[in-house]
């Protein structure tokens, strides 16, 4: 099996033709690389370029699963962040010297008590301040979009499988909450509709009770059923671990965490004794590693069809590491165009090398193999636990995902 796959391994073309899911870690590296790049600049043109790259790659390589539709919600969230940032800046503008800036509009000033000195409510809204807030908000929004892209490209459950064995329990807790959350939404919709059948249109506390009680009872029953199903399918078999092993692992992990905390504190606080710095950090990390390895030994399980790390994964990861490295280096070299001045206001320019570097991340859209798509004629399910208007909800994916041309 290894032999046959190796012969294709270094041929990008072969991988491109065969649909498969890319290793989730590759997508996360890609998204974090772009996020690193975004965090180094406030140039709106570069930031919008990053959003464009994210959008193109997500459209080309996302699958059909419910989480694959998450990107648009993150876009909405990013937009909200920008709007809130600008609104707050306008409201709490702070004192400005109106002779040197452009005043857009002057809001009525609300006098604040003395203890709130330094905060100004209302007053002049300046063009410079608004643009500055816009740039800041945009940067934060783009970081959110990077997160959203990773979430819609990588299957969260598969991503959790790369966790070390000792953290397996944690991963499963996340998996259960991931499965129960959409069901909770469905159950709220179902119960809200059912309330209408009783002619119950009350709002407020009464409505909360009549919705929350059936929904929570339902959610509790579902979680118990899921837990029973997982248990009877062998989840959590402890293998050969003795209570002593478990205690040793626990002590190691707690000691390691304490070391990490102390080390981080020592590094940040210049006045701390030297031993609390790097040495404590390293010792803590070492203890944690030993604990993870020991803990992992007692969890005996195997993995079905682990995602391979092949050429496509390398290309996707590197394609975003490049812009990250270029922008970090550019900041170090003091490239002014990365952070265009807002006071005095200047038009942002397009620095050539960072632009090319960001565009390079779009290579992922071609290098990654196309996602697996199921046949489009999926029979839908109405029966079961959701009453009919719920047959729309019973499939969180809703209508089939449009296939980008």
């Amino acid at each position: 099996m290894t032999v046959t796959s190796r012969s294709h391994r270094w041929s990008l073309a072969a991988h491109r033709r065969l649909p498969r899911t890319l290793h989730p870690v590759a997508w996360w590296v890609w998204a974090l690389g772009l996020a690193t790049a975004a965090s180094r600049t406030t140039n709106p043109v570069l930031l919008l370029l990053i959003v464009a790259v994210l959008g193109v790659v997500v459209a080309a390589r996302r699958g059909e699963a419910p989480w694959a539709r998450a990107f648009r919600y993150y876009l909405g969230l990013a937009l909200a962040v920008v709007v809130i940032r600008v609104a707050f800046r306008s409201l709490f503008g702070g004192a400005v010297d109106v002779t040197t800036v452009h005043v857009l509009v002057t809001l009525p000033r609300i006098p604040l008590p003395r203890w709130a000195a330094g905060i100004q409510l209302g007053g002049a809204v300046t063009l410079e301040g608004t643009v500055g807030a816009l740039y800041d908000g945009l940067r934060l929004g783009v970081l959110l979009c990077c997160l959203g892209a990773a979430n819609s490209l990588a299957n969260p459950k598969r991503a959790l499988r790369v966790l070390p064995g000792a953290l397996y329990e944690l991963g499963v807790a996340v998996v259960v909450s991931l499965s129960v959350a959409p069901q909770l939404v469905e159950s709220v919709q179902r119960v809200r509709r059912a309330r209408r059948l009783r002619g119950d249109t009350a709002v407020g506390r009464h409505a909360l009770r009549s919705i929350a009680i059936p929904v929570l009872e339902d959610a509790l029953e579902r979680s118990l059923r899921l837990a029973a199903a997982m248990d009877s399918r062998g989840y959590g078999r402890t293998g050969t671990a003795s209570p002593r092993d478990r205690r040793v692992t626990g002590v190691l992990m707690i000691g390691g965490m304490a070391g990490l905390c102390a080390g981080a504190y020592g590094l940040v606080d210049a006045g701390a004794p030297g031993v609390l710095g790097l040495p404590a950090l390293l010792a803590g990390a070492a203890l944690c590693c030993v604990g993870l390895v020991l803990g992992g030994r007692r969890v005996r399980r195997s993995q079905y069809r682990p995602d391979p790390w092949a050429l496509a994964e390398w290309v996707v990861a590197v394609s975003a590491v490049v812009p990250a490295a270029v922008l970090v280096a550019a900041v170090g070299h003091g490239v002014a165009a990365l952070n265009p001045s807002t006071d005095p206001l200047v038009w942002p320019t397009l620095p050539a090398i960072p632009t090319v570097a960001i565009l390079f991340a779009a290579v992922a859209g071609v290098a990654a193999p196309p996602p697996i798509r199921s046949a489009s004629t999926a029979p839908r399910r109405e029966d079961g636990r959701s009453p009919a208007p719920a047959d729309a909800v019973s499939s969180p994916a809703g209508p089939p995902v449009e296939v980008p041309a």
Partner: protein, 541 residues
Amino acid sequence: MIEFDRVTVTYPDSDRAVLADVDLTIAEGELALVVGRTGVGKSTLLGAVNGLVPHFTGGTLAGRVVVAGRDTRTHKPRELADVVGVVGQDPLSGFVTDTVEEELAYAMEQLAVPADVMRKRVEETLDLLGIAELRDRPLHQLSGGQQQRVAIGSVMTAHPAVLVLDEPTSALDPTAAEEVLAAVTRLVHDLGVTVLLAEHRLERVVQYADRLIEVREDGSVMVGEPAAMLAACTVAPPVVELGRLAGWDPLPLSVRDARRRAGPLRERITARPVPARRPPTVGGTRRPTLSARGVTVRYGAVTAVRGVDMDLHAGEVLALMGRNGSGKSSLLWALQGSGPRQRGRVDVGGDDPGSLPPAQARALVGLVPQEPADLLYLDTVAQELDQADHESATAGRGSARGLLDRLAPGIADPCHPRDLSEGQRLSLVLAVQLAAAPTVVLLDEPTRGLDYAAKRSLIGIVDRLAAEGRTVVIATHDVEFVAAAADRVVVMGAGDVIADGPTADVVVASPAFAPQVAKILAPLDYLTVDQVRAALGGSAP
């Protein structure tokens, strides 16, 4: 393979044992069917096999349960995962992963099966259960029958010696139920798996069973050959009831057996007039109580109901049938007015319930949803009934209580609605909805989880509603219930009405929907055992 040694199970807040002193041995390769009234310890018996009872559910288990040499006292469910596979009633709630293939592999991953073995077993299981074409599909997109087969496959990949199934076909339409049962019998015959199966709809499974395990109300258990056991069992499918009536010995368990014996019976009743199956409808004016024109329901790109026209008449009981996902529930919700309706008109006495406020709409059309518990949120039955009176402008105080006592006598005021049996909870919600005195009553899948006696009392309730001049519409998969309860049948497929007519004409015309008595006595026009009983008169047997 499975051994119960003087097992007694008691739950903390109950004074009587759910299982009392049960001795039971199930041999390898057997298909044992667990039967009994709703609410007896069937699920407890099944749960005890892999230790979910009492490790997971709580309660006290006295005695010993040994499966493949492992005692459940010392082995938790997870440590029995490689010998016992358990599939619950609602497969969707037990799925851990997202796609069919990953779900099939999940149990093996937990058991640390090597990767190459896993690949092989997944492929074999996909073929064995006939779900190979579904391999990459998201689990929530599958139909009910497909989900049930995937759930069975997901435990079979661990190669357990015992398979435990709790009502695997209760939510399925007849065809999907056939698929699932075919898969189960294949496992028994080809792989020698021991199967323990609980089911209310005996007519579907009793013919495949090697032995019958009847759980009684007092917690005791009777075990025996199906034919011998059913002669005196408290639950029996129509084919067995017919056999009892005709005095056949041994009792037939399948339509085929019964048909081969039915020659003399057919001759005896062939000359007699076919007795009426249903009481005659009242009024006789045939005035429509509800008339719908061009009702269309869409969810995004999916059309659930496609321009349906329908007239409902006073005193009529109509059964709405069709496979899972054919638009039955969507149509009911659209007729009631609470569900979406993109096009079309509904007219109930000059008003459109869809454009009225919910409180007025429910006085025209009452709907009992698939999950009756969604309507209940108070702590006691009395509070729910008071609330129902309060919600209904037309009803006086205490009228909901009166309705409930007529529907299901003996439900005490201080009971918590969650503690009621399925049938009692259905009656409570029905009473709540009837308090508004609707002229049209819609019931969405009311027969799920009901045993034969509970279904008979539901038929009595439906008959009384019809006798009061109301119209009753019942969406259901249960053909035997339809044969006994409905005057008219509408069959839906992909959002269209594909058949509409008197019950006798519609159900007999389709092999999937024909009740057992019709299959046995064809070409005579009998649908229910009661008709045969009436035809034989006092002269039987």
